[in-house]
């Protein structure tokens, strides 16, 4: 029945749009967190180097290098999260990075090391606690959600185009080759 097809189509489109809007919101939120974390570290790398050193998990000779690479990496992940093309790769890297942060903080707490988090520079400093561990783990989970449900731009377009055919619409366009 043509009217029924239109109803199904409209409903499916709405669901897809809602899902895409929610994912976009999540990506923007996570990207904002990473930018917020990266900028103070880039402004004052010495302070961040000091924070890394206090975790006592990185050899001293690598502290300076990490103090520069980590915020640059955070910034790159933030930008990539906002990109339709790189969103899943960025989400995967974000999840791994945040999980690593959570593990580093957890080991410090477990060893009784009382230290500053170093997460958002000196301005919004907080001591490492199980709350900061949970925060990193939670954000890592958020990144996993983006990774699981986010789709590359090409795949999203392809699925949108093929939906009508499943309910009797026009034949699907040829698949868009992934770049």
């Amino acid at each position: 029945m043509p009217g029924g097809e239109r109803t199904v189509n409209t409903s499916a489109t709405k669901n897809t749009s809602t899902k895409r809007a929610a994912l976009l919101l999540l990506r923007a939120a996570l990207a904002a967190v990473f930018v917020w974390a990266a900028v103070p570290k880039l402004i004052d790398p010495g302070e961040f180097a000091s924070a890394i050193q206090n975790y006592r998990v990185v050899p001293e000779s690598y502290v300076g290098v990490l103090a520069v690479l980590v915020p640059v990496f955070e910034l790159a992940v933030a930008l990539a999260l906002l990109s339709a093309t790189y969103q899943r790769g960025a989400a995967l890297l974000a999840a791994l990075m945040l999980a690593a942060f959570a593990v580093a903080m957890a080991q410090a707490r477990a060893r009784g090391i009382d230290l500053r988090c170093g997460c958002f520079g000196a301005t919004f400093e907080a001591k490492v606690s199980w709350l900061t561990v949970a925060r990193s783990a939670g954000l890592s989970g958020l990144a996993c959600v983006i990774f699981a449900f986010g789709a590359p731009a090409s795949a999203t377009h392809a699925s949108t185009r093929t939906e009508p055919s499943s309910v009797g619409g026009t034949p699907p366009d040829p698949p868009v080759p992934s770049s």
Partner: protein
């Protein structure tokens, strides 16, 4: 774009930018923590309970020629031979044990000033200071800025093997 390609692209781009920044600005030195802040940054220990364990370059220079003040180089023997604070003794922070003759010098010192490379944040100085505190030596200071800061100010320095070390402990 395939997932591995996405990951690789992000990593490569970050690495390129990060290494360029390192080449331009150099690796940052950890900001030395003033004595009052050490307790916030690291595990509670004997050294953290001692007041004023950090000493500034100028203050250390003022003490340098004072009898009873011993400067201890915490770096490895090769680094020590390349250059060190004049009249300092070599005691690498990772040495398994402190030779008896060397410990006698330290035990008779009024003040011990430990130093290493500032680029490493003087964590090895902190470790050695903790160790010496554990052995009952009370006034152990850590030089803020380490050897690079000392040399930048053209304070007395020398190279070669440890002249002040007892024969059995010379590196």
């Amino acid at each position: 774009m395939r997932l591995p390609v996405q990951v690789l692209t992000i990593c490569t781009a970050s690495l390129a930018v990060g290494l360029s920044l390192l080449a331009i600005r150099g690796g940052p030195r950890p900001t030395p923590a003033p004595g009052a802040e050490v307790g916030v940054c690291s595990a509670p220990s004997a050294i953290e309970k001692a007041a004023n364990q950090w000493i500034s370059l100028d203050e250390a220079h003022g003490l340098w020629s004072t009898p009873g003040v011993v400067f201890v180089d915490c770096r490895g023997p090769a680094d020590f031979d390349t250059g060190h604070i004049a009249s300092a003794i070599s005691l690498p922070s990772n040495s398994a044990e402190i030779p008896e003759g060397l410990f006698a010098i330290l035990a008779h010192a009024q003040t011990i000033v430990a130093y290493c490379n500032a680029s490493s944040g003087c964590a090895s100085s902190l470790r050695l200071a903790e160790r010496l505190h554990g052995l009952g030596l009370r006034d152990v200071r850590i030089l803020t800025g380490g050897l690079p800061g000392w040399l930048e100010r053209s304070f007395p320095a020398e190279s070669g093997p440890c002249r002040q070390c007892p024969a059995e402990s010379a590196p």
